[in-house]
Amino acid sequence: MAREISYREALNETLRQEMERDQSVIVMGEDNSGGAGSPAGEQDAWGGVLGVTKGLYHQFPGRVLDTPISESAFVGAAIGAATRGQRPVAELMFIDFMGVCFDQIFNQAAKFRYMFGGKAVTPVVIRTMYGAGLRAAAQHSQSLYPLFTSIPGLKVAMPSNPYEAKGLLTQAIRDDDPVIFCEHKALYDSIGEVPEESYTIPFGEANIVREGDDVTIVALGRMVSVASEAADQLASSGVQADVLDPRTTSPLDTDTILESVENTGRLVVVDEATPRCNVATDISALVAKEAFGSLRAPIEMVTAPHTPVPFSDALEDMYIPDAQRVINAAKSVVEWER
């Protein structure tokens, strides 16, 4: 049997392999090593707040940089270094912290190439944790990838399992454009088959997770497994779903989505983000524009409600889209009649 490792391990291994392969890859973030300046002196005490970068500090002297808490400065530094021959991987610990450093990302990194008439290359990766489920409340649980997706000049990757994590992060690091790499915090301990050797997964090519002719379900990041679970249950009641994982929301594999809907005539989009101007609306609008002629039912979107993420487990469990809601949505479009 092929080797199985966790999402966290897959990310760690990818960073290690890319740092071995390319001297210009450097890693930086708050406590990405951990222990800086501590009198007891154990460096690499943390390896990132949830351990993703653990071990790199000692293997790559001088290439794993801890930072003060100043995201504008160090994310900006990663961007500046990227324009001068480095391939920095900066960690924005929680995607929720984008608000203190967004300018560097969307006005600087994203726009350099265009503003400068095609002369800049900014190969920076910003790794960041998103998503609900850890009872981390309103400022540590958001799914803010739609904001990044909306920005021309950024690419946005959302690995849904360990295999995807490795292939997409390898691609992100080797990619010459700025990439926002969104890791779902509830996936770190998920296990899956991951080849030991390096490989890339190209951006903008959706993964067809499961094939079916009755309804297309497009799901993002952690929602892919939720959608798959729903598809299993739908299958047992006779509904065959095509489950698509776009892998990257920018670029978006519009062809695969449209082809699937042209076949099924029905679409459900599952997006953990809040409902306004999110990726679910983006994909729905795409289909309503480009595949209207094939559509046989309203498009359903399964998303979080238009509220901040609540703390209490009781509320958070209701907040996050689950398989049952996906099943209900799929059934409603399959059963829909004019």
Partner: protein, 331 residues
Amino acid sequence: MTGTLPTQATGELSAESLLDAYRTMRTIRMFEERVHDEFATGEIPGFVHLYAGEEASATGVCSHLDDRDAIASTHRGHGHCIAKGVDVKAMMAEIYGKRTGSCQGKGGSMHIADLSKGMLGANGIVGGGPPLICGTALAAKQQGTGGVGVAFFGDGASNQGTTLESLNLASVWNLPAIFVAENNGYAEATASTWSVASDNIADRAAGFGMPGVIVDGFDFFAVHEAAGEAITRAREGGGPTLIEVKFTRYFGHFEGDQQTYRADEVANARENLDCLKRFRERVTGGGEVTDEALDTVDSEVAALIDAAVAEAKDAPKPSQADLETDVYVSY
């Protein structure tokens, strides 16, 4: 200018005030020790950052404050909440995610707030509080209440641009604002000696045109005196002050932190620098307060915390009907 203040201010405090301060510090301590124990049982969800060891800061500052005054806190906010008068039982219920919590279970440990008490919230964003406090101070100034705003923030937060620019704004607007930099030596696993490029956080005050003061954070009286001066000056229109309080946190960054980055500085702090022990010695030594009176406080606080935990455990969780309320006043 930066300097270290002597600690010689017991005189101004009545026995009653001293007992109040002691009660506040003891409540914080017991609250945090108890949350630590309860967290270990797995019943408390999420990220919890404990304030134990730092009680003298919240208490020394907030003992000067009243209803005109607002504070902003951090992810390590329980102590500030208690010192500003937030209901302890509601806090505990909040930490358990219950409907009876300070925020109906919607906020959790990192977002406990009570606007009616001038407690503008713990804050999950490092450096989130200082800008807000410029605003509460501005409101007090506009309204002529004589109120002040106090931003508590950590050594790590002292490197965040939002904090730094707030210092400048407070000076430029001559706001009644106090910036309390709680330097507990670490931001997560990063030492402040490394992340703060100046020797002291208080050294930054000069660059923003305000006085900077360093105090021993294990000493309630030191904090109380420095805060008193700053708050009086602010109330009188003298503008902002930056106070750096130096001490150590007793627990890890958050519950679950293995703390391999630090040596046994906590044992020493608990043994020799404990603000509660030092307070007790000082006030009983001078005869201001009796040991019995303090013991009574201890057992009252213990009973309160027991009751808070018991009630929190028993309380109902929020329900479906609560999920989508409270986003807007009207929509």
